[in-house]
Symmetry: C2
Subunit: 378 residues, 2 copies
């Protein structure tokens, strides 16, 4: 993956650098790739460039490989990965490049917000001035009311994110922050401040997927990671149409499918990548995934369970908050960072001891299009 942040490179260049690194890493430089799957949320409006499927494939010199763009909002990365798994699983491909990219800094913040607001319900939310941040604030308030979560405790999430991200050379933000800096940051949507919200970022991340046979042929068995399970589910667009404010049912459904396919339980997971676009989501994600009972996820933050040296490390490289959130790239960055953990190649202070199985959770829309991916040592 590229560094995430405000970057000079064009969207095509970002996709190129991540892709070439992934192809090199897979020892596939001299191979003919069957297919390229590009995950990107809205290059047309963020950058004025479109048709990324062919554009990226041609730029990489991979013509005549089949090329498809997959888009499910900010879960596009994991959705594209899942599609790659399907093509290989069906025998329609043996060697697939999946690259996620977004270049969000070419438009101003207002424009970026309008573009991102399209993944919410227009009739029920956007038309009344709703934004992802106001919806996150709404559920944060409800969560605090229902479970007695304090504003200070909620700040532990971004504090941990930045603590981890400070050791990640590719992270958008590498500054350590404190509970006070979170509380004193400008309010975005009360009770959430700027430091409860992930940034918009530029960046790309890529993986190479191969069939078992091709993996052996490439001689990369010892550095390969196996896809154990994928799960994908939707929920109603409008938050008000859901049964609960403090649970995202699509996470529950996607995780059940992914773990079922993997024949694993959450106890088997060694390292977690959760979609913390807003601080409150990390707690809700943990509870929806079964990592903590309802209302009690914060305990695992407080007692260090989700720290690097805890028993359930979450967002070891900074999460969306610190690593950054180029929307189309995030799902693949999550998977890429799990791969480095499983290989034992994470930056030293972030390396989890003996990580064998990882789970990533990627949110599309405001909680309406979730993809869960489980990968493990071959």
């Amino acid at each position: 993956m590229t560094r995430f942040g405000r970057l000079e490179e064009s969207i095509v260049e970002l996709a190129r650098w991540a892709s070439l690194e992934a192809i090199r890493d897979a020892h596939a430089d001299d191979e003919r790739l069957d297919r390229v799957i590009v995950a990107t949320q809205n290059p047309d409006e963020f950058t004025g460039r479109g048709h990324l499927s062919t554009l990226v494939t041609d730029d990489l010199g991979l013509v005549p490989a089949a090329a498809t763009r997959v888009e499910t909002g900010p879960s596009s990365g994991a959705s594209a990965f899942e599609a790659g798994v399907a093509f290989i699983g069906a025998g329609l491909a043996d060697l697939v490049l999946v690259v996620g990219v977004e270049k969000m800094s070419e438009v101003d913040r207002g424009t970026a917000s309008s573009i991102l607001a399209k993944m919410m319900s227009y009739e029920n939310e956007t038309v009344y001035g709703g934004t992802p941040a106001t919806l996150a604030a709404l559920i944060a308030r409800r969560y605090m009311h229902d479970y007695g979560l304090s504003r200070e405790d909620l700040a532990l999430i971004p504090v941990k994110a930045h603590q981890n991200g400070s050791h990640n050379p590719l992270a958008h933000f590498r500054k350590v922050i404190t509970v006070d800096s979170v509380l004193n940051a400008p309010v975005v949507a009360s009770p959430l401040t700027l430091f409860d919200c992930c940034p918009t970022s530029d960046g790309a991340a890529a993986v190479v997927l191969a069939s078992e046979e091709v993996m052996h042929r490439l001689g990369v068995r010892d550095r390969s990671v196996r896809v154990l399970g994928v799960g994908h589910a939707t929920d109603h667009m409008a938050v008000q149409h859901r049964l609960s404010l403090t649970s995202l049912s699509a996470t529950v459904n996607a995780a059940r499918a992914a773990l079922g396919m993997a024949r694993l339980s959450i106890k088997d997971i060694d390292v977690w990548e959760l979609h913390d676009a807003f601080s409150i989501l990390e707690l809700i994600d943990m509870e929806d995934l079964g990592l903590a009972p309802r209302g009690r996820a914060i305990d695992l933050l407080r007692d260090g369970t989700t720290s690097i040296d805890g028993t359930a490390p979450v967002n070891t490289t900074g999460g969306l908050k610190s690593r950054g959130h180029p929307t189309g790239a995030t799902g693949l960055a999550q998977i890429r960072d799990l791969v480095t953990q499983i290989r034992g190649e994470a930056p030293k202070p972030l390396q989890v001891c003996d990580a064998e199985i990882g789970l990533s959770h990627n949110i599309g829309g405001f909680g309406n299009n979730m993809v869960v991916t489980v990968i493990g040592r071959v």
Copy 2:
């Protein structure tokens, strides 16, 4: 599928009507669909609405089904179909709705052209004022020069398209035209006139894909059609980077893959859907697919081989020229119209005798992202 044309319905309504018809047709009204795949080129810029994956799924009452958008420009429909085949082939789904939709009439023609121009090479074509029509004119000129095709003969393509489309109640244009009307229409890009160019349209088309087991459970074996082969290939974005102006290599590669998977040769195909966004493309498509020797496709028009009662009927329901071209929907409309042919349910004057196997050819970009699909009687 819905009627194609300038329609009042919103993009969500169009997707809804095509989807509900497909679900009803598959006797899947009471089923839980595993997955929805939405093909749409650029709803964000054409309509201001985005995140169609969840939006359409929620509108249809299909939550929590997994939902993915697939986009490859105007071949999005066939690419989404191919992805659906992959999910079922991999055992990741058993019952999938694939719906393609575009609503292009909410923006003015200039805006629509700018949106569509993104599937060409910006640096090599768009920046110099290139448009899809000017590229088509370029290759038409070259083809006429190389093979002695006359302007009058080229007009036979749209004349046949409108002749067929006049019997298709869902077609955008149902008016019979003559060679003279083509020649006397306003010039778009010499030598092409307005009647050599497909319109921009609104519309949706949908199919339901099922595993063999689910097909039997639904009791629809007698009306089902089997997916025999899918093939997909890219070419360089810029026409000037290709080896030939009068052949689209991605068609050749995609067809080879699809026919190879189907273990069929072109002699086995009973009915054809070719991507005639511009008249000249129908000739080039026929030659790239092996239906005619180089430069001689026009003979098959002249002698009626590609007419309804010929031995290789092409675009029996009007093609893109007369049926219309809502970009995300076209690939699925092609497949849907082949299904009606294979079932013997095409409008009477358009029904091909004993059609058992059909091939559709869907172009994305200006000839840079092709998908070929082969389907046949179960």
